[in-house]
Assembly symmetry: C2
Homo-oligomer: 165 residues x 2
C-alpha cells in the first residue's frame, strides 16, 4: 500500500470524528504564518493555534517568493489577516547546497533543462535570511505599513522559537 | 497584546514539553503535500501524519506555481520524497473573485501598482483546477514519471477528502 493510500485511510477516521464543519473562511485570529515546508515543523501546535485561526503558507525555506507575496496579499486584502510572521529553522536543508550546484546536478541527472524554477533560494545565514524575508514583505506596495511583520528561527532540537530582531 | 505575542507565549509551553529533538531532515514517510493556506485545513491530523513525516507546502489555493514546483523539486531530489498529493477544498476563497477585479481593487485602494505578483491564480471550477495542478507537476522535466501525483478536494463541512480522478 502506498503512503497516499494510508493517508486516505487515516482521513476516513478524521472525517468520522469531525466537528469543525461550521468555521467561517476568514482566519479567527487574523494571523498569517509563512514557514518552511520542513517535516519537523508542525505549525499549529508549535504556535498554539487551532483549526480556523490562521492562514499557513509554506515553501522550501520559508522564503518570500512572488507566490508567498501573492498568498499574503490575498490573506490580508480578501480575508482580513492583520499580522504576519515568518518562520525559518535551524538545520534547514536550504543551508546545505548552492543554487548553481543543484541546477547542474538536476540537468546532469535528468538530461533535461527547465526554465522554471528560475531560482532555488538556498541561503547561507539564517538570521540574515529571515531579515531579508521580512524586508521583502514590508517593502511590498500592497502590504500596509500598519501590519506587524516579525521573524523567527525555530530550533528543531528544542521546539523553541527565537525572534530575529 | 498582539496575536504574535500570544503565539510566542504558546510556543514557550510547546518547547517546555518538546520531545522531538532528534528527527532527521528527510521526511520519514517520503511524502510531500501541496495544499491551500486556508485556516480550516489542519494538514497533519487531516492525513494522520506525525511531526517529521511529510513536507507540507501551502499557498493561496493549493496552486502549482513556480514556487511550489521549486519546493517539490527540492523535496524529491534533495530530501527523498517519492509521492506527492495536491489538496484543494470546498468553499475556497479563490473561487470568490477574478484576478482582474482584485488587481483593480488593489490599485484603487492603495493608489499603487506592483509588478509582483503577476497572477493571483483565482479559479472557477474546483475539479478542473485540481486536474490542472496535477498535470503541471507531472509535466515538469525534473519530476520523475514514477512519482505518484494524486489530487483531492477536502470538504470543509465534513472533514473528508474526495479524490479527483
Amino acid at each position: 500500500m502506498s503512503v497516499i493510500d494510508d493517508v486516505i485511510k487515516a482521513n476516513e477516521s478524521y472525517a468520522d470524528q469531525f466537528q469543525l464543519g461550521r468555521l467561517p473562511i476568514p482566519p479567527a485570529r487574523k494571523l498569517a504564518v509563512l514557514a518552511c515546508m520542513d517535516a519537523r515543523l508542525t505549525i499549529e501546535p508549535m504556535l498554539g493555534l487551532s483549526t480556523g485561526e490562521a492562514h499557513i503558507i509554506r515553501n522550501a525555506g520559508g522564503i518570500v517568493t512572488e507566490d508567498a507575496l501573492r498568498s499574503l496579499i490575498i490573506s490580508h486584502h480578501l480575508l482580513g489577516t492583520e499580522e504576519f510572521i515568518v518562520i525559518n529553522h535551524t538545520d534547514c536543508g536550504m543551508l546545505t547546497f548552492q543554487d548553481n550546484e543543484l541546477l547542474q546536478r538536476l540537468e546532469r541527472e535528468t538530461h533535461k533543462s527547465a526554465a522554471v524554477p528560475a531560482h532555488f533560494h538556498s541561503f547561507t545565514n539564517l538570521e540574515s535570511n529571515v531579515r531579508r524575508q521580512i524586508s521583502r514583505i514590508r517593502s511590498h506596495p500592497w502590504i500596509p505599513d500598519r501590519i506587524p511583520v516579525r521573524g523567527f528561527i525555530y530550533d528543531v532540537k528544542t521546539g523553541r522559537l527565537n525572534e530575529v530582531k
